[in-house]
Amino acid sequence: MMISFVITITLLHPTDVSAQESAFTLSGVVRGSDGSSLIGATIIEKGTTNGTIAGVDGEYSIKLAKKGATISVSYIGYATKELTVNEPIVNIELAATSNTLDDVMVVAYGTMKKRDITGSVSSISSKTIEKKMATSVFDALQGQASGVQIMSGSGQPGETSSIKIRGISTFSGAGVQPLYVVDGAPMDDIDAINPGDIASIEILKDAASSAMYGSRSANGVILITTKVGEANKPRVDFKYNRSWGELSHKLPQANREDRRLYDSKRRKYFQDNNLGNPDESFMVIQDSLNSFFNVDNDFQDLIFEWAQKDQVDISVSGGSNKIKYYATTGFLNENGIVPNTSFKRITARINADYQANDWLKMVSRVSTSYSQKNGVNEGMLMSSMLSRRPYFNLYYPDGSLVGVFQGQKNPLAQVLHAKDETEYYKTNLYQAFDIKILKDLKFKSSINANAYLSKRNRMTPSILQDEWQTGNSGSHGDWFNWNWLNENYFTYKTTWGDHNFSALLGFSAQQWRGESATLAGINSSTDYITSMNSFSSNLILNETGTWESNHSMASVFSRVTYDYKGRYLFNVNVRRDGSSRFSKENRWGNFPSVSAAWRFSDEDFMRFSRQALDDAKIRVSYGITGNEQIGDYEYMYSYSPGSIYDGIGGVYPSRIAVDNLQWEETKQLNVGLDLSLFNGRLTFVGDYYDKYTNGLLASYELPKESGFNSMRTNVGEMRNRGVELAIAGDLVRTKDFIWNASFNISRNYNSIEKLSGGKPYLEGGLWWLEEGGRVGDFYGYSQIDIFQYDESNAFAAGSWDQLTPIFESGKFSHYTHNGAVYNGAVVQKTLANGDPFRGGDVNWKEAPDSRNGVIDDNDRTVIGNALPTFTGGLNTSVTYKGWSLYMSFYYSLGAEIYNAAEHTRNSFKYSSTTPAPDVIHNLWLEQGDIAKYPRPHNDEFNNARYANSFYLEDGSYIKLQNVRFAYQFPDAWTKSLKVKNANLYAYVNNALTWTNYTGYDPEFSSSNPLQIGKDTYRYPKNREYGLGLSVNF
């Protein structure tokens, strides 16, 4: 960018290059060592500003002052070559290098050479994104950068992902997402960005890199730079991908025989124990000839189908010296593995840079997208699909579809008839003016506006309503958000000898406005009309209304950098942010950071290592970043409209007043080491960080007797420490054969250091938050096993060692302990009312501080944790001539998952719910059964108590996320077709998963950072097989 800018300016004044007598014209072709034409290579006459750019086929032509002049030829990814020319025609070959240290990276409010970076930044190029066959930015990033954990939400088309940078450092859902900055403009979401438009992604991980974005940067910043055209290089790109997806694996589910076995086991249990109506399950199926009750359905086979995806991207780019443009349009059409679930997206983008004159440059970015998502209530669908009795037909004998039968919704009817359609309209406009005031002093002013509109239409027709409810129900919601941002800053950059100095000073103002409108109704006169006009006679008044809320921020920011010979680098940032989300006293927050780097490889004492070590740098940074992601008025004690009672709307306090609601602040120390070896063939980046968050903003559960549920407050302090390593290398590099690989691994240690009043609390009924604990600690009961006999509930008094009952001719005789007859006192585990647990009940483990024989709420302990120990990725690509194979793995190790869906399915609470086949075959039925699962009836002994350690599973996984096999057509073929470049490829996404987890997928996200790792059965991800073609003209 910088280089081409200089050249552009030069070319503006062609007359500056005065034609001298001895001038001669040099021409030729620039090629890479692999023989490819280096279109766009820069040729500069040394010591002047005279230069040119290689055109089509790498051809160039330049007027030089005299014979014997020295030219410098450079191209990104190749070693720069200097040569003295005497001949009029010189063909130049550049050696490929993977030394990327001179690459320009995008940083906050500017760009920087990679070698000058003092913070912790990961960069991902468009080449990588292309290989990942991504349809969203998240797909592209997954497994690519250390310390960045991306969890895709579910397999539902159009579903977004969650991203965490360096662990969970806040308690609130909105705050855990990093800040996205696209071409300098902050964005609330990046779902509408076509990954094909992206030139590079930079992830700012430490405080020094991100603190320039102050208040919204505590969880890192993701900078996305979209492509721009290059002058005099018109280019048309066309890409088409087509893929087919299938369910990667099915879950075990009872078939007809299993369910009948379950019915008969339950009948026996009810008869033996003299309970309820033993024949209750059988009554419906006693007619063996009734086809309605005697089918054998595999609901997973019936519901899931092949998914399909089409993706077309077309872009045109190019420009002249004064204007550079990039215009693109992309179309994505995806149908999921569940019928009637789909996602369509059209994106369009126009990027243009205008050089109006020698001091004013204007930058325009316009992007817009439309998308449409047809969704399904995944939890409801999955549970009704997996627990439905397999012998129930989905159709009545007359061929009509079953809606609700015996209180269970027909999964097929849900898929075919329930409607949940959302349309999204997103537009972003960005204009910036770059003004060159003095040679070293520049001023930039930008205005950015984002508008998002989403319209969601839902309709549950009467076929899906339980018989006692009124007819059907529908709703329509509009959410409109828009925000504008004005940023202005001066930059000053100068060099005195070996001293490089730069400074930046700026200020910005930003405002958000959110509006929503909802209409909801029930019992319309027809199921045919799904829009809300048919519901107008039966609107639900308390769900109908419009809402508005506003938020604004003002900021001042500044940065100073200094380096000496590029060897000692210093960087200081200060930002001061004001947010309307806090009261006047607490409105402003200061976010300073400092960083320094030492390129010790340039020191004399390192001379010995130069043979191998090209570059070595130690980086240290420390800074404070902030978070203000809470509701717009949460500092304010206010009232809201409440319930309508007898024609009058009520008003109630929306929240309790809280003193001193403040900014959440994260202090972060980062120490890093960058090494580059063997002419850039092997690079190593390591970082250690220590993040300490003060004033965690959280929704804190209040005692309900206060009349309030929760309050927003600065609830405590949390620490995240960790290590990240990334290694990349070209393992083999010959003319025809290239093999490179990169690997990264991260380890994060989370600990909750302080909680309000030191008081632990239970979050969402499952997660225990306490000082010294970790986010994601599951809290519940521990299951030891199932008592075999009533008499098995016997323990030695004092030691609580379990005794073994001995039976003689079917009658209990005595106990043994460690093989010896036990005659001591026997104690039992009981309920609080003294009733002892029986055979077939769960033998619960008592909490160490509550060993009294009574199993009650005090016996809950922390039973596991949802945070992974190691995460990372491995990417490798092999290229042989025109053929290339790319593979991308990512992994998450050590996390545990609470399989809540399976717990619910197997809790024996409802006779209509069919448990998993393993449960049916291994449940306790009578005295003496050695069982894995308890008695098939949940009574006061509450064997289904929540949460149960039994349903805690190892959630570690390694995924082969992408495999891509590509062929690049030889130049000779493409030339004849007037095509510059053509690639044909086949790929598999979500190819393989290695895991012990028994659910559909161990990878799923949750929007609440505190409620993680609970699987309620999400829409399963598919395995996608695709073919694609990309051509550029």
Binding site: S445, S473, S508, S552, S580, P653, N858
Partner: protein
Amino acid sequence: MKKRKYIVALFALMFSFQACESFLDEQPVSEIPAEEMWQTARDAKAGVNQIYGFFRSATRTNYFYWGEFRGDNFEPGSPSAADQGRVMDNLMTTDQSSSHWGELYKVINQANLAIKYLPTIDMPSVSEREDLLGQAYAMRALAYLYAIRVWGDVPLFIEPNEQYSPDIYRSRSDKDEILRDVILEDLKMAEGLIDRHENKERKRISIFGVWAILTDTYMMLEEYSNADQTVTKMTTYDPDFMAFEPDIMTWKKMFTEELNAKAPDNTPDVDEYTTKEFIFVLHYHMEEVGSNGYSYMYQWFTGGGNRAGVVSESLRSKFEEGDARYPIVVKEYQGGFEMRKYILGDISSTLNKSCQIGYPIYRFSDMMLLQAEALARMSKWSEALDLVKKIRTRAGLETKSAVEFNSEDELIDYILDERQRELVGEGRRWFDLLRTGKWKEVMEPINGMSQAGNEFFPIHYSHIDQNPKIVQNPYYVSSN
């Protein structure tokens, strides 16, 4: 040229300096800042009305859990009604939804706000303000009356919580002190404040509502003479508005038509009911409650697949031959004896209205029978039986005379049995058993309830997690 670019830069600079302090003052649009609330008559009405809205959510399921399922009126209706079944079978655990008191305390906090701020509002009509204040006092009393009957001792708040402070973490206060010092005193305040002329609203608290809660309170305090006098006031105060309905067909109409889909109105001075027995009814209308807040009067009591409870064998056996209420109250349907007191016809015929049946909290016959009980306790047996006779005659039954009873306890049982038959499905039975101490005697043969302390519900475990000062009821936790 040079100059021009300085001008542009300067202009941009000025433009951006608008970012001043006032820019950051965002006032809420869809919320009311607290200092703007409680200013006008409209605020007063809205604030008090919310008390009823909260009370409706608090009792939507608990009306049945607390008042009916805990007693002997119902037995489990279907296998899918696990939670209801566990209350009926005395198998309650601390995760039971009916043990959660959050919604009830919202009623209390809202009433506390109204009690604090209503006196400060300058309203055109003082009597209207006092009437609203009276309703707030009465509703606070009613909420605490439920709380102490369900959990025993409960935390006490008589000032609103508006500002977070350690003071919101309170331990449980003695139930008898709450009954005497808070509930009774609130009701006496309300009695003096309620507008007796303009407030003829059965869907909110009128003077009759105050007297009904007061009667209940006196009965719990065993102040029988006061209870008797209070019911007498109700009988004589306005017989055109509040009176016993002697006809059984009117009785039927009262439940199946008068409670069903009553249109919302905002006219307390107009009585929109054609029958005279309802004192306080919780109003349900689909437009107001939406698809997640409908009435359970229908859904929990019909259909083999998902009904919560069916009329128990013990209650059915208590109906005498020829009791005209029996065919109205009980219908055998899909393998169970359903309570059809509120339902006209079978499933399909009433589908659209089924989710908007109001909950009767107090009814005049209830008061008569309480008075009878009070009189019996005061040894006025024949006066007591005169009242019972009215109820029984309506049902087409003969009534015993005083000489046929050998003891007060025998007479009390006679009255209680009548209450059970008359008031089934009205959320009263368990509280009768609790008040008279007969819960052990009645429930032990049914579900084994016998240990002291078992008469109270557990406190939801989350309340204890959130406030360590709360101690669980001893029946549900080990003592360490």
